[in-house]
Symmetry: C2
């Protein structure tokens, strides 16, 4: 019997790879569409049975001649700083690719479920923590604005065209394969013998391991409806930069300690923490604690980079 | 001395034509960009000194080799029903053309002012009337959602890239040249001897004559800032369908009266009225009353159609 088919856009990206493998291991036949030259063998290694290297456009989606029951739209921009230097490209990557996916669902597979990984960047500088889903949306960057736009497209296609949709606002996702942001930068620094860090060390973020993120996406599938529920994807815990670095130093350079510039980035929220009650109600919960996750990450980092 | 230069996108459309002529008569050198085969003479008749027939893209904007001080983005979708049958096209027409205009401003003419005519469709079914600008945005149609998206792009470029921007949420604009919606349909019906109308006649809308809309756009120019003020563009009065028809019958078929189906369109707001305090504070006020405006419209209709 043919297993169910899922289409993962951006399957060659950080989140897309983990989502593809996760779905594949749960018995889904995974099709991937997006940028990147992947050999069939490499794609298979990440659970992608068939890889279509192309822009995510309506034409490209049609040309796949597929009939997915689930579409997870992992393609799109993933960088605040890119959105500040190339805002139009960022808008196109995030909003226009999603618009194509939703239009494809409406015109070709109206019974399919669309899962959209959004971002906590939609909240901007949150007024109170932990942030609930009903908090006001006050994005600070073009990236955050474009994610708001994307969510509105989901809500619009859900309510106007009856597409079963679900949105997950992910906080800081990390894990093997992520080659940017604090944890990656810190590993590189510590290995190079540079122990100086920006900020005070007291800044917090809510870190979620990418495997837990992939589990949440798989869990979300059955909750997609034309009401388009929106849930936070986070650990529910605020972890300070100091705690992250302490663990990384322990794993990499146990006889050293970080020092901090004590300057703060203007505009950056000092603390971030998600309320995950809604996702917990689905029966999902994060399974990889931050120390275990960092330990795995350093192991991967050593194998890849050092 | 060279007069100041304004770029009007969609200058060949209903609002664009009136805006172009209005600006031209106020001493602006008006460049037009958008769809439509216009001879230079026809364009000039509407105040457009140079007409560029092209899609509104970043490339097309660059290729004009212009340096406008003001950009009025009249291009974009103008139909709720189109957005329901072609939502992706509607999104592209509204959001993507505006994104191109804002990116053009950021990269080529950062000192330019961007004026964006939005729509009261962003409010959806309003909870209380008259609608103030701070009312919640609960758009009912893809058209309304895409207008919300457009406003967010304006706010994003204004705050992130310091572009002086202003948004006007227009209610029902009518006037010479409009070949759709209630007034146009009613004129055609009455002339054809069909006096039957949908609804109860008690439904209200807030009608603003296109000349008053163009005046408001011109007034808005000096109020554009990186805070991106948003004002309603309306008459501030709710006029019922019965009142509109009474005036049209008086002008066209004075010995007849309309009859109504008394059925209501589900989903359509029954009443609509804008609070125009904010625009009045700018010193603008509507100058053409509904009866005078309808009289002019019928005169134009007779010359064009009958």
């Amino acid at each position: 019997m043919r297993s169910k088919t899922a289409l993962v856009t951006g399957a060659n990206g950080f989140l897309g790879r983990h989502v593809s493998r996760n779905l594949s291991e749960s018995g889904w036949h995974v099709l991937g569409l997006g940028h990147g030259a992947w050999t069939p063998k490499e794609a298979n290694r990440w659970g992608v049975a068939e890889w279509f290297s192309n822009d995510v456009t309506l034409d490209a989606l049609q040309d796949m001649h597929a009939r997915p029951q689930v579409i997870v739209h992992c393609a799109g921009s993933g960088s605040v700083s890119y959105s500040l230097t190339r805002p139009l490209h960022d808008f196109s990557r995030t909003a226009l690719t999603l618009a194509a996916v939703l239009e494809y669902a409406r015109t070709h597979v109206p019974e399919a479920v669309v899962v959209y990984p959004s971002s906590a960047a939609v909240y901007g500088n949150a007024v109170s923590l932990p942030i609930e889903e009903r908090a006001p949306l006050l994005p600070e960057s073009p990236y955050g604005v474009h994610k708001v736009v994307a969510e509105q497209l989901c809500l619009s296609y859900a309510s106007n065209f009856n597409i079963a949709t679900v949105v997950i606002r992910f906080f800081s996702i990390y894990g093997e394969g992520l080659r940017k942001q604090l944890i990656w930068d810190a590993c590189k620094k510590i290995y190079s013998g540079d122990f100086n860090f920006f900020g005070t060390g007291e800044e917090t973020r809510d870190w979620l391991h990418v495997e837990d993120a992939a589990n949440l996406i798989r869990t979300a599938i059955v909750h997609a409806t034309p009401e388009c529920p929106i849930v936070n994807g986070a650990s529910g815990r605020a972890t300070s930069v100091s705690e992250i670095l302490k663990e990384l130093f322990l794993n990499i350079a146990p006889h050293h300690v970080p020092s901090f510039s004590r300057r703060e980035k203007p505009g950056d929220p000092k603390h971030f923490q998600g309320d995950v009650s809604a996702a917990l109600k689905w029966g999902w919960s994060p399974s990889i604690g931050i120390n275990e996750g960092l330990h795995q990450y350093v192991k991967w980092f050593k194998g890849e980079v050092v």
